[in-house]
């Protein structure tokens, strides 16, 4: 079994689990799902530099280095995704505290919403 297969399947499994949890109906599993998707995306981007073992992009006497650019991009992505998660959690919390309900789907629009400005 190759390392590539392991990494690719890990990405796939993380994505599938992330999508499934994102489709749940309560805020908390959706947040977990988005976090899993974040892992999947970060690893996917990182893997776009191809996999190398024992070749960190720290300049030494070595001749082969792994691709540093995806790493730099993913590094900021990890930090930004923390910010994003925090905001989403805050919104979920606000919604729950405000309505005492952590359902994610709005009720289907009722007749009240259809009253429009007849000015």
């Amino acid at each position: 079994m190759g390392l590539e297969l392991l990494v690719a399947s890990a990405i796939g499994i993380l994505t599938a689990a992330g999508v499934y949890l994102t489709l749940r109906l309560r805020t908390f599993p959706v947040i977990l799902g988005i976090s899993l998707l974040t892992y999947a995306v970060n690893v996917f981007l990182f893997a776009s530099g191809r996999l190398s073992v024992g070749a960190p992009p720290i300049l030494t006497d070595a001749t082969v280095y792994t691709d540093p650019l995806p790493q730099a991009l993913v590094l900021t992505a990890i930090v930004i995704s923390f910010g994003m998660t925090a905001v989403v959690v805050m919104i979920a919390l606000g919604a729950y505290l405000g309505a005492n309900d952590d359902s994610i789907d709005d009720p289907i629009a009722t007749a009240d919403d259809q009253v429009e400005d007849q000015a």
Binding site: A16, L25, A47, G83
Partner: protein, 957 residues
């Protein structure tokens, strides 16, 4: 004056009336007048050049890649319209000063008016058609604002919406048409487009472009079947009706037809569409106008009719027709604006505009009577007034125009139109001013002050002057006509004369005037017939169409966008997977170029742990606390994966972010229910599993395929690896990329992070100040709390470890440029150290020892990073160019000083500030929720039993 300034002055000036609103009505109108006057004078300074036949051009490249440039052009046609807009604008401003009552917000009115004026001047001076489109939309918007100026009147609001809907729709069509036109000509500059008549007319896209452009012009200029919005726009204050809806804006469509006349006209399509639309509008407008009782409605339909006349003249495609059109634009602007202002005076003084309630005003308002009568007679086509001249030219042109192979069709319709036109003019004079003085006017009418009658009087002087001495206007009209015709045709030699001899046009003219008088004598029986006849009401049709499209889009939106997040997510996942599948099945995939690397037992074990944790998370996600532990394992395994695959920086970042994320989720879980109830049906879960498996499978296949193939081209990382040490002075290439090569990206990212933290802070504040606050304060914890809120072991440990954490952070920060580490990671490590203090010693204890607010730390970080970048400007380098040098201070070893380190310090501070502000906000929710925080660690919380409400919560010492 530069054309830029002429266009910009009204826009800049639009700021002033609002500011002057409190300085009094005089000052407010005065400043508006001054701004317009300055633009007017600026325009006049270009007169010599225009008279010399030059085309004044000026331009700045704005978005050259899109062909959108601020190119302005002033030729005869543009000058003519700009003169009308600014000149009549001055009169209207004067008039409006006295027309508006004390209750009206004058600053708002004049702001809108100047906005409109600038947009309109922009249209007529634009060389670039994309720029023209921008101004075009601006006129629709400002017209909307002005029609709806009296917000308390439902008619105003409805009229404004109708005008915006119709002209906005036309504007959309126009955008399409202009884009096609520019595409055919290969340039969006009019000066180029106008040179390409053959190219455009031979293009297969000529017809769609023509139709779309005409749609824009017809809606704007209220041509049949889009004429219905204009009368409803009369709900606006009269100065607006006189200015926008008679003299200027409604002529924008005509202007555009004239502007594009050299390239669009002369084809059978143009001739049939434009001429027949113009004819129908002319006759229809004139007939309806006769039976309107509201003075402004009558004038509105007469405007529609005259616009139709001008359109018809442009449609004929002959040089004489174009000249007659130009002349009639001038004449119509003068007499119609004067008439509107007179109608406004009558309304203002008699408090009604209903013709049936008026009559005999001749004796009460002699000045207004003279002004209105002269203007109306001009409109009716009576000799020695300017309307007669252009109407004769129109009849002459109609006499030579053969539409649908029927020689009598156009002349007959032209006479009918003129006949009704004469009739409503006579009715206007006869039923409003002549007749007996009545004693039942709503208010006693009398002539207004000079401020109100002066502007229309000035226009009527022009009416008479041009009417008696047409040779005065001739050179100017011919100059404008030459600009309209361009190189497509020669200016006709015909002279402007009152007496042309016994030509057919004269007989047609006489027939129209006499017929008009006869119709007026038969008005009463005709009105009965008219009132009895069934007619389609345009407004009802329009509202039915609007209602139908609203219900259609509502149906569509409620189907797709019903507020269910999970539905959007599912649609997105399926769509993306399907798009990927499509690309996959239609593209070509080469053979693998990389051989798989063998995986050992340890790697497989790691993979199994990751997969087991992920699957466990899916199955056990209803237990929320447990799922946090599982997601922690996933994060840990991802970090280990990064270490294994040569990404130490990523591993360090991932593991520190993991810690703060888990703390954050724990804090959130404090408020949320502990379990997720089972809600979705089995069917739904099966559907979700299918979507998830499709998405996961697709990602797996894609990742697996590209991992076994080399990149198609050499990655740009070669450059980074080669220049990291030489140019950036660091051996850790990832860090050099972050702070140097792609420093601007990083700069943006720390700003985003800071904004996210501020957003969380703001949301917390909103929650704490809203109705949620009470719920938070009364909340009962659903699990027993720990007896010792601040365990002694933990307090001691965290305080002892704090300096060590700071030292580690400092070390990681310093070595970042050459070894794994850097600002991001150091920031996260320090944040974790501080968070541990909060957790161990309590919120109050920690915040009391906090010297700087976290907002300030975020700001300082962004500022330091930004200033570091700006610093490179002083040595004439682009933003964020880094520099470094090596320093040796005995007895230390030689070390490196880089500006990138300063930038990294900014990153560090921003990360610390953002992470701490987010976590602190969350814990503030918790803090206010229960017991007052204790100053002393190692306290025993007497309120730990939630079942005992009597326990004193504040004595937790």
């Amino acid at each position: 004056m530069s054309l830029f300034l002429v266009v910009a002055l009204p826009f800049l000036g639009a700021l002033l009336p609002g500011l002057m609103n409190n300085a009094g009505r005089q000052a407010c109108a005065g400043v508006t007048f001054t701004v317009s006057l300055a633009a007017f004078i600026g325009l006049l300074t270009n007169l010599p050049a225009v008279l010399a036949g030059e085309v004044v051009m000026t331009g700045v490249n704005w978005l050259p890649s899109l062909g959108l440039n601020v190119n302005l052009m002033l030729d005869g046609l543009g000058f003519f319209f700009a003169l009308l807009i600014l000149g009549i604008g001055l009169l209207i401003i004067t008039y409006a000063r006295f027309y508006l009552s004390r209750d009206d917000n004058m600053g708002e009115f004049f702001t809108y008016l100047l906005l409109f004026q600038g947009a309109m001047v922009g249209i007529v001076l634009s060389d670039n058609i994309l720029l023209l489109l921008v101004f075009w939309e601006l006129t629709s918007l400002s017209s909307f604002l002005l029609i709806g100026y009296w917000k308390h009147l439902p008619a105003g609001r409805q009229g404004a919406r109708m005008a915006l809907a119709v002209t906005g729709m036309g504007g959309l069509a126009l955008i399409g048409g202009m884009l096609i036109l520019g595409n055919i000509a290969g340039s969006y500059d009019l000066s180029v487009i106008l040179q390409n008549r053959e190219l455009i007319q031979e293009s297969p896209l000529y017809l769609p472009a023509l139709l779309l452009i005409l749609l824009g012009c017809f809606t704007k200029s209220a041509q049949f079947p889009f004429h219905f919005w204009l009368p409803h726009a009369m709900a606006a204050p009269t100065p607006v009706s006189a200015y926008l809806h008679s003299a200027t804006m409604v002529k924008a469509g005509i202007f555009l037809m004239a502007r594009l006349w050299p390239v669009l006209s002369g084809t059978p399509e143009w001739f049939v569409i434009v001429t027949s639309a113009g004819l129908i509008t002319m006759v229809l407008g004139a007939v309806i106008a006769l039976f309107k009782h509201d003075l402004k409605a009558l004038l509105a339909f007469s405007t529609v009719s005259h616009l139709g006349l001008i359109t018809m003249l442009l449609g004929t495609g002959t040089a004489f027709g174009a000249m007659a059109a130009v002349f009639h634009i001038l004449n119509h602007a003068t007499f119609k604006a004067a008439l509107f202002m007179s109608a406004g005076i009558v309304d203002h003084e008699a408090h009604t505009r209903d013709i049936r309630r008026l009559g005999g005003l001749r004796h009460l308002m002699p000045i207004t009577f003279v002004i209105a009568t002269l203007a109306a007679l001009s409109m009716a086509g009576i000799p020695f007034l300017n309307g007669f001249l252009s109407k004769e030219m129109m009849l002459e042109e109609a006499n030579h125009t053969i539409l649908f192979d029927t020689p009598w069709l156009v002349p007959t319709l032209a006479v009918i139109g003129s006949l009704f036109s004469a009739a409503y003019c006579f009715r206007l004079i006869g039923h409003t001013f002549l007749g007996k003085v009545r004693d039942d006017y709503p208010a006693t009418p009398h002539d207004p002050g000079f401020g109100m009658w002066g502007p229309p009087a000035l226009l009527v002087v022009l009416v008479v002057m041009i009417g008696c001495a047409p040779f005065l206007a001739e050179p100017f009209v011919k100059l404008v006509t030459a600009a309209v015709l361009g190189e497509a045709a020669e200016v006709p030699k015909a002279y402007f004369k009152i007496w042309h001899g016994l030509v057919p046009a004269l007989y047609m003219s006489i027939a129209a005037v006499v017929g008009g008088l006869i119709v007026l004598t038969l008005f009463k029986p005709l009105l009965r017939v008219w009132d009895a006849a069934p007619r389609p009401e345009a407004k009802t049709i329009f509202e039915a169409i609007i209602a139908a499209s609203v219900s259609l889009s509502r149906g569509l939106i409620h189907g797709l966008h019903n507020g269910a997040f999970s539905r959007y997510a599912a649609i997105a996942a399926v769509t993306i997977t399907a798009a990927g599948y499509h690309a996959w099945s239609t593209g070509t995939i080469g053979a693998p170029t990389r051989s798989p690397q063998p995986a050992g037992a340890v790697e497989i074990a790691g993979w199994i742990m990751l997969v087991a944790a992920t699957c466990g998370l899916v199955f056990l996600h209803r237990n929320r606390l447990l799922s946090l532990i599982l997601i922690g394992i996933v994060g840990l395994m991802v970090s280990i994966g990064f270490v294994f695959f040569s990404a130490p920086d990523l591993a360090m970042t991932q593991i520190t972010v993991e810690v703060v994320t888990i703390i954050l989720l724990l804090l959130a879980l404090n408020f949320l229910p502990n379990r997720t109830p089972i809600q979705s049906s089995v069917l739904r879960r099966v559907r979700d599993v299918a979507v998830a498996l499709a998405a996961g499978g697709a990602t797996f296949v894609m990742a697996y395929y590209f991992l076994l193939r080399e990149a198609v081209t050499t990655p740009i990382s070669e450059f980074h690896l080669a220049n990291s040490y030489k140019g950036g002075g660091g051996t850790n290439v990832v860090n050099v990329i972050l702070v140097d090569f792609r420093g601007f990206d990083t700069f943006g990212e720390i700003i985003v992070l800071g904004i996210a933290a501020l957003l969380i802070y703001a949301l917390t504040e909103t929650l704490l100040n809203g109705p949620v606050r009470a719920r938070l304060l009364n909340r009962k914890p659903d699990q027993p709390r720990a007896g010792d809120m601040h365990p002694m072991m933990m307090v001691v440990l965290t305080r002892v470890i704090m300096p060590v954490v700071l030292l580690v952070g400092f070390y990681i920060f310093l070595r970042g440029h050459n070894e794994p580490g850097g600002g991001f990671i150091a920031g996260l490590i320090v944040s974790i150290g501080v968070v541990m203090q909060y957790m161990a010693s309590g919120f109050a204890w920690t915040s009391a020892r906090l010297r700087y607010p976290y907002h300030g730390i975020i700001g300082a970080g962004v500022l330091i990073a930004g200033l570091t970048g700006i610093g490179s400007w002083f040595v004439n380098k682009p933003f964020l160019t880094s520099d470094f040098t090596y320093v040796r201070i005995p007895p230390f070893e030689k070390f490196e000083l880089a500006t990138a380190a300063l930038f990294d310090l900014g990153v560090f501070l921003a990360v610390v500030g953002a992470v701490m502000l987010s976590l602190e906000s969350f814990s503030r929710l918790a803090r206010r929720a229960h017991v007052k925080d204790s100053e002393h660690p190692m306290d025993i919380d007497p309120s730990r039993d939630p079942a005992d409400p009597t326990s004193p919560k504040t004595e937790g010492v």
